[in-house]
Amino acid sequence: MLQVEGLRKTFTTDRGGVRAVEDISFTVQEGRFFTLLGPSGCGKTTTLRCVAGLERPEAGTIRLDDAVVSGPGHFTPTYARDIGMVFQSYAIWPHMTVFDNVAFPLRVSERPPSKAETRRMVEEALALVGLEGLEERPAPQLSGGQQQRLALARALVRRPKILLLDEPLSNLDAKLRERMRIELRQLQRRLGITTIYVTHDQGEALFLSHRIAVMQAGKIVQEGAPRDLYRAPASGFVADFVGEATFLPGVVTAGGIRALGGVVTCALADGLAPGEKGLLVLRPENIVVRAQPAGVPNEFAGTLRVAAFLGDRLDCVVEIGDLLVRARAHPTTQLRRDQKVWVEFPIEHCTAIPDDGWRPRALARTFDDEES
């Protein structure tokens, strides 16, 4: 189990910018996969490096299994923490073989195991990631995916209490990334090792995690299970960062918000009262696009500006007044660009949240010029 309380760390980057982590607190239960998710510069990597002992926090306490590794007047250096870490660059030592890379953590430990035991443990770790038989290969001769596995084997070989992963998949190409995240998920679930994962990729975070903490500007803005984050984002920022969304801001009325020239019926998040500014977050897959009106509530007429075929779906952009709504339709739907459509925001998927002022990057309104 890992507990972080009131963590604070400020420093200036090489380019002169100030980065800060302010008052970060979270707990990772035994055997859970915990992800720190956020855009670059939000402090997620700094937080992870504090847990690893690679950065020295200015305040706060970090406990690993009830033992304080970092706190007021106490700082356990990295080498003395029972961790395994995979770096963004993999940090595979290029002057060593695959075997030597994995054996290194065992060889430098306080009580190094015997040669035979070392060999057994290294082979076991390599088998875990599917690299058996490559022991004598010089490390630089491995492919990107293999280096990634090697880094994982090296992090796991001494069976650490906690596994730290710093954007480990970001250097792989798309296909490989998808495969590796399946393997990573299976491996973690099988070993039951407590894991902290840092990424800016919401897809990875949703796929892998038991719990996700979304970070923004050095703070955790929401923490929860993937499902809850997606369904009930606490702010516009979280809604935008986790998944795609169309934002419908407006003043809250009883049972809805004022928008699109009328009232959109929706539930209200806790603490949101009529008269306040609210935000309705619409996920594309929840929006229904029809060629004819169905006469249902929350139905609005608009013009279809984009209908792009993506194999498993039709990606649509519908213009309603000056709002551009992203929607998703079944790939076999017969819809044509610039035709009139009716869009339904099903009430069961509509909950207004407090408006934090965050807006997704606007869709450029130049569809008329585009070929489709």
Partner: protein
Amino acid sequence: MATTTVARRAGIRLPAWRADVAIVAVAALLLAYLTVVPLVMLLLGAVSASGSALDFQFTTRYLERVLTDQASLELLANSVMYAGGSAALAFGIGTGVAWAIERTNVPARSLWYGIALVPLIVPGIVHTIAWLFLLSPEIGWINAPLKAVFGFSLSVYSLPGMMWIEGLHSAPLAFVLMSAAFRAMDPSLEEAAAASRANAWKTFRRVTLPLLLPSVASVLLILFVRALEGFEVPAIIGVPGRIFVYTSRIYLSLKLYPPSFGLAAAYGLVLLAISVVGLVLHRRATRRIERYATVTGKAYRPRRLELGRFRFVALGGLGLYAFLAIVLPFLVLLYASFVRVYSVPSLESLRELTLSNYAFILNDDLTRTAVFNSIVLGVGAATAVVALTAVIAWVTVRTRLPGRGVLDFLAFVPITIPGIVLGISLIWVYFTIPIRIYGTLWILLVAYVTRYLPYGIRGTSAALIQVHRELEEAAAAAGARWWPTFRHILLPLLRPALVGTWIYIFIVSLRELGSGVLLYSTQSVVLAVRIFDLRDSGNYTSIAALSIFLIILLVILVTVLQRLGGRTIREA
């Protein structure tokens, strides 16, 4: 409670903090001693009426003379013309060779690339002596037949003669830099021009040339500064020809009677100022290259011009260059080393070949001392520089300690100090402060270490930047303390670059003349200085033998050390 926490925290953190700062402080003091002190002394020396900075009396006598009198203005004109002409010539030759090798389909490109690098090994003094043998007015290999057939000769003792020798010697540097510039250019930039329907000439004029312009400026400036700082040609050709430039004038201010240390310092100051301006402009040009970002560190496969029939013209050009820069100088030295009296080769002279010159240098105590001293100094300077700059590089690259930028800057300062100016500065330093090392090997070691600090810092920081920080952090995360991390991770990864830097400094130190020529004594004579000295006694055939010996020594060292270094690189 609160106070104990604070005290405990301070108690734990302070020693570590102090150790860091102590390292930086010691390194900064050492660097300041090596770079700032000589420059301050040079300044004091130029405005001091007495011969010492101890009983200092201010005077502007020397500076006035150096900046205003007629002879001094002539000196400035000569220096600028000499350096400018040499730079232009070196640039022309070097760029031509680089262009042929990098951008055309001339045959055997990689072989030519190797050949074009060969002259880099030849020390300036050896190159100069060889061309003296070739262009000496009466008996030079080139001049004797010219005179016999056409009744005139080319005088080497002239400004064009000096430019030719220095230009030819610097051409390999121009070649290396321009060939890097050609390689760093993304060919898709030119292809994009072609795709925009620009023809070959328009592409060259509107895209290639503007992109290369910052490189051209920076290479010309570096060649100019190098020629200005060079001592060999001005001393060996310029002085007998009565064409003086700053470096030879500084030397003569001390060697002619009565010696004037103040005048030498004042000339040194002017030379330093010109050199600093040149290098600041160079740095600017380089920044522009970075801004253009054609230099990405990525090697592109360049577009090569199909020369067609002109392939063999280009081949002939390369052959001529190799003949003039390598074959001819080597042959003339080889010949001269086997004759009693230097003359144009004839049947008689070839019949009377002798080994006596080699016997002379092998039995000459001073030469033996020089060989020993050169090697000791080379090993000492290379080791000291690599060790010192490795620490500085680690501090500047890996830590966020305050003052690290100052360290980096101080280590770069000596790049602006011409060798001979460093020499006169160190004379002032050790005449003033009570460390009695003048005339010993130690003062030469100090000079060499100062002079090669920039090479060291460049090599070691580049090496450290290449070793990704995460490689060290991964070792810590794997449970390794500082020492195992250093021994098993950092050192093996840095070794090839450190060895490479060491070899480079060792080799260039064996050829060093400028900084040593004012500082040596009979006990501390070094190879290049020994050659310079033998020339004073008119013993030219022995010089030839010693030159051949030096070339062979350097070729063997470079080959062996490269192989050793190469192996460590392959291992890693």
